[in-house]
């Protein structure tokens, strides 16, 4: 039997005195691609950060999660004063990759060839997001947690990212992402948080 | 008692204002320290009791009556 990468069993989530979600259960197995749906403020980000272990919001119930994960949230995690390459080099050093060729290749994958030495603050909004998402081509993590990865990304970029996410799942990884737009990916599992609203 | 008269107690050979000033200030702090949580706790208990009484009255009078209040 394949081990679950992530399992929530009837989890309740609180923010201070307010209960956001009740009885959320889902399991992520290798190869799964989950899209979290839910209206604004339904608790997608809160749940994802709790899964990643970033916040310890009032969580009742069982949570099992692999340590080998990549989280990309609303914040870019980029230093605006450093170049694309310098930023990714630091991110990649958290994993294993650190040679410049791989980093430049990842930047090329997200359509930023020629921008390697440009500092982040001189890029457009979408280009900045792309630098952050170039980590998907560098990471060795098995579970990807992506909070609204398609923000500010154009149509071609969205297709690129979707392809990479599917490639990752096919290779035995798993993805949990949020997005308000329907995607063009096949075999997607939907977790609608509006169902679990407290 | 060491002092002969009450005015001597008050005067303390010229040190009266200092000694009594220090003691009264301390007394003020002590009173505040004890009284402020005490009063707050009383208010809160009163509040909770009232709420309970209201709830009890509502359930005693029946649901339709309670909905009017």
């Amino acid at each position: 039997m394949v081990d679950d990468l992530l399992r929530l069993e009837s989890v309740d989530l609180d923010r201070g005195a307010r209960r956001l979600l009740t009885g959320v259960s889902f399991q992520v197995r290798p190869g799964d691609c989950w899209q979290m749906l839910g209206s604004n403020g339904s608790g997608k980000t809160s749940l994802m950060r709790t899964i990643a272990g970033l916040t310890r919001l009032g969580l009742q119930g069982q949570r099992i999660c692999t340590d080998n994960l990549l989280y990309q949230g609303h914040l870019p995690g980029l230093k605006t004063g450093l170049s694309c390459r310098e930023n990714l080099r630091w991110h990649a050093s958290g994993g294993v990759v650190s040679n410049v060729e791989k980093i430049d290749a990842a930047l090329a994958h997200v359509g930023l060839q020629g921008y390697e030495d440009r500092v982040i603050c001189q890029l457009s909004a979408g280009q900045q997001r792309r630098v952050g998402l170039a980590r998907l081509w560098l990471s060795q993590a098995q579970l990807w947690l992506l909070d609204e990865p398609f923000t500010a990304i154009d149509v071609r970029g969205t297709a690129l990212l979707e392809a990479q996410m599917q490639r990752h799942c096919a290779a035995g990884g798993a993805v949990v992402f949020t997005s308000h737009q329907p995607t063009g990916m096949s075999e997607i599992k939907i977790l609608d948080l509006n169902q679990y609203a407290a | 008692m060491y002092f002969e008269t009450w005015s001597a107690v008050w005067h303390m050979e010229g040190h009266g204002p200092y000694v009594w000033g220090a003691y009264s200030l301390t007394a003020l702090v002590i009173v505040l320290l004890v009284l402020s949580p005490w009063v707050r706790a009383r208010e809160l208990t009163q509040d909770i009791r009232n709420e309970q009484r209201r709830a009890a009255a509502a359930s005693a009078l029946g649901a339709d009556h309670a909905s009017e209040t």
């Binding site: - | 303390m12 505040l32 320290l33 809160l44």
Partner: protein, 243 residues
């Protein structure tokens, strides 16, 4: 031992305990305070050098002693809340800081009132005095930090870390302030350091120290009880406790 600690960590048990303890402590504290003050102010003989102004000692020294001890109590509560995650320790920490700060303030103010007739100045930068001022800053820091967080759990954890860091530093701060300007600079003012204090003064002083410890415990318990009333307002045990 562990069972006691865990029992104390449960809010309902603590609420009942606090109620009982407050009922006992309040008369004891009142009586010892009144007796101690009357003894110190009216019965004890004056100091042969300082005259009657020394009577401030009966509030100054107890306040200073308890204020100092209070910081260690607070740090212990911090340790309990961080390591053993005892809920009541969080509450205790938030209650301890203002009480400690108030007592430190009393020690500072009575000291500087005492200083005026004795040294002719309200304030001097003496080692003891300076370190007491720093203690006040430490207490105020904990209070400000706990107030600044919206999230109460995070506030308690942050205060616990701060008070633990402070404990490591307190002996260092005290030692360093004692050495401050002590080597080649003649310290202009020294405390009357002799501990050979007469029994007629020692007994009321000891009584007042006991009274201030009692006062400290009393006001901390009062604050913790109030905090419980706020945070557990909706819970069933509190409602059954009150009815």
């Amino acid at each position: 031992m562990w069972s006691i600690v865990h029992k104390m960590g449960s809010p309902p048990w603590f609420f009942r305990f606090a109620n009982g303890a407050i009922a006992w402590l309040l008369p004891i504290v009142l009586i010892t305070l009144v007796v101690g003050c009357v003894w110190g102010l009216l019965i004890a003989p004056p100091d042969y050098r300082q005259g009657n102004s020394y009577r401030i000692i009966f509030i100054h020294v107890p306040a200073a002693v308890v204020a100092l001890a209070g910081y260690y109590v607070m740090a212990t509560a911090g340790l309990m809340s961080l390591v053993w995650k005892i809920k009541m320790a969080d509450t205790a920490m938030r209650a301890l800081a203002p009480v400690g700060a108030a007592l430190t303030f009393v020690a500072l103010v009575t000291g500087s009132i005492w200083g005026k007739p004795t040294w002719g100045a309200w304030w001097v930068w003496d080692a003891r005095i300076t370190s007491m001022l720093i203690l006040l800053f430490l207490y105020l820091g904990v209070m400000a930090l706990s107030e600044a967080f919206d999230n109460k759990v995070a506030a308690a954890k942050a205060c616990a870390v701060l008070s633990l860091v402070g404990t490591v530093n307190i002996p260092i701060i005290y030692k360093s302030v004692d050495w401050w300007y002590s080597l080649h600079q003649p310290a202009s003012i020294k405390f009357t350091g002799e501990s050979a204090i007469d029994a007629s003064m020692l007994y009321p002083l000891l009584l007042m120290i006991v009274a201030f410890y009692g006062l400290f415990a009393l006001s901390v318990l009062l604050r913790m009880r109030t905090e419980l009333l706020v945070t557990h307002r909706q819970s069933a045990w509190l409602r059954s406790e009150l009815s």
